[in-house]
């Protein structure tokens, strides 16, 4: 998977998720997908290193902060599920890029 393909995949994923929740992001889905792709690329370089799981969680948190998950657009329950999606997407993307 190329970097551009990953960005497009992530963009589609984010748009689907946001559409379902009815919320809004503080940034465009393209901008966030670019950031996610950048962070996944970093994760792909450290797959298997000591503390990798901590890095995945840290990158998930960074993406959530950049996404602008606020209390107005997203209730806590929705946030939790979005966060789960972000973490899963980052971990999978990192491993795909690392192959």
């Amino acid at each position: 998977m190329t970097s551009e393909e990953l960005k497009e995949e992530l963009k589609q994923l984010l748009e689907s998720a946001i559409k379902e929740t009815g919320g809004n992001l503080a940034v465009s889905s393209k901008e966030l997908a670019n950031y996610m792709s950048e962070r996944a690329a970093h994760l792909s370089t450290i797959v298997g290193q000591t503390g990798f799981h901590m890095a995945v969680i840290a990158e998930r948190d960074s993406v959530a902060l950049r996404a602008g998950l606020n209390a107005t657009n997203f209730g806590d329950g929705v946030t939790q599920r979005l966060v789960g999606l972000l973490q899963g997407a980052l971990a999978l993307a990192a491993k795909l890029l690392a192959v």
Binding site: T21, T50, T72, D76, L85
Partner: protein, 141 residues
């Protein structure tokens, strides 16, 4: 290539749609909170707080701070924890993050030094810390 998208959307979309309906009652309508990333900040704080704690322990062990200083830092950490839990924006804005941030950095360094994290992992932890700092600044603005 589409497997990533399909699998994740299949797994999460039905749950997310249902949850939105259920959780709307908990949504906050205060316009001031529209730009405040409280859910994301609380999420990040769970782990950032651990970095701060590790930093306090390391500084105390190395003699960089006294036991009294450690207690003071723990109190500041506890205050920010309460402010974030309550969503008290004034208290979050007033928190001395400039004091705690370097301690969190020290905590990340300690994780590398003790072999619990690689340098590459530390890059991710520092990226989160940077984003959390920006969120604090957003609350203050």
């Amino acid at each position: 290539m589409n497997r990533l998208l399909m699998v994740l959307v299949f797994l999460f979309t039905p749950v997310m749609g249902t949850t939105l309906i259920v959780s709307c009652g908990g949504c906050v309508s205060n316009p001031a909170e529209e730009k405040i990333l409280l859910p994301a900040m609380r999420l990040a704080w769970t782990e950032v707080q651990k970095n701060v704690q590790t930093g306090i322990d390391a500084q105390l062990r190395d003699g960089a701070i006294t036991e009294e200083g450690a207690v003071s830092l723990r109190d500041l950490t506890g205050s920010l924890n309460i402010a974030l839990s309550k969503g008290d924006l004034e208290a979050i804005a007033a928190s001395p993050w400039e004091v705690l941030e370097p301690v969190a950095q020290e905590g990340i360094t300690e994780l590398v030094r003790s072999g619990q994290a690689s340098e590459g992992v530390a890059v991710s932890l520092r990226e989160r810390l940077k984003n959390f700092t920006e969120a604090i600044q957003e609350v203050r603005s």
